[in-house]
Symmetry: C2
Subunit: 150 residues, 2 copies
């Protein structure tokens, strides 16, 4: 029932809290964890368009993407090490796209048993921007979802 | 983390599926389960008002409530027996009210560790009427929620 866990993380406190629950599920038969981070395409300046703020050169955009990728790499590797220490088989996936869509796509691709996801309990605007990722995942996922409040 | 589980049930297939996950959490340290059924006040004809359909006498309403209570009693006791067999301490609570509100009230009252709830994957209208119970619980709960799709 909990054999293969999909753990999407945006490295927030809510995601980190959710990691504790992932570990606890080891005792309930969880064996494998897919650690997923989706770099949100929409946060990359080129996608917003040149009208917003100072014009962004292609080179600046490239540099920003590289930084986001390096951050993601570092954070997910730390999580991987932590989960391996708890006895899990771990795989890391870093994707670029729209978080809730990629989470749902990988849920299907990987045929996971359960999704464990943190949810931001922030203000209304942040909630609309961020909290909605977990809401959309819960609404559309075919598999059980364990939601941890931040 | 999973010590005390609140398991709200409306006796649907989704709720029954969720029960399997409750049992599985035994291995992850779950010890106690509160089995909760909320008799939905709004389904009792007197609450809809005398304009809808044939007039309902006070005696008919009384009879209907008694039937709902007897059903709830029977179903929850069966669940209680099943969970006890799995080694849980179990308490049954039957309430009358608005399901999501009572679920959230009892979550606080009982200081549970996690809520395990089934979610109906039905058509749009049913979704609005029924599925929204789990959505509201997820949105407003302070504790982790494990959502099982029907």
């Amino acid at each position: 029932m909990f054999k293969k866990i999909l753990y999407p993380t945006d490295f927030s406190d809510a995601s980190k809290k959710a990691l504790g629950y992932v570990k606890q599920l080891r005792e309930a038969g969880a064996k494998e964890v897919i650690v997923l981070h989706v770099i949100d395409d929409r946060k990359i300046p080129g996608f917003i368009g040149p009208d917003e703020g100072a014009p962004v050169s292609g080179m600046q955009v490239e540099k920003m993407i590289t930084m986001m990728e390096e951050d993601a790499e570092k954070e997910t590797r730390a999580t991987e090490a932590e989960l391996k220490k708890s006895g899990f088989d771990v795989r890391v996936r870093i994707e670029k796209g729209i978080p809730f869509r990629d989470i749902l796509r990988i849920e299907e691709e990987e045929e996971v048993s359960v999704i464990v996801v943190g949810s931001h309990g922030k203000g209304v605007v942040k909630e609309m921007l961020l909290g909605s990722v977990s809401e959309k995942v819960i609404r559309k996922s075919k598999k059980p979802v364990l939601v941890i409040k931040g």
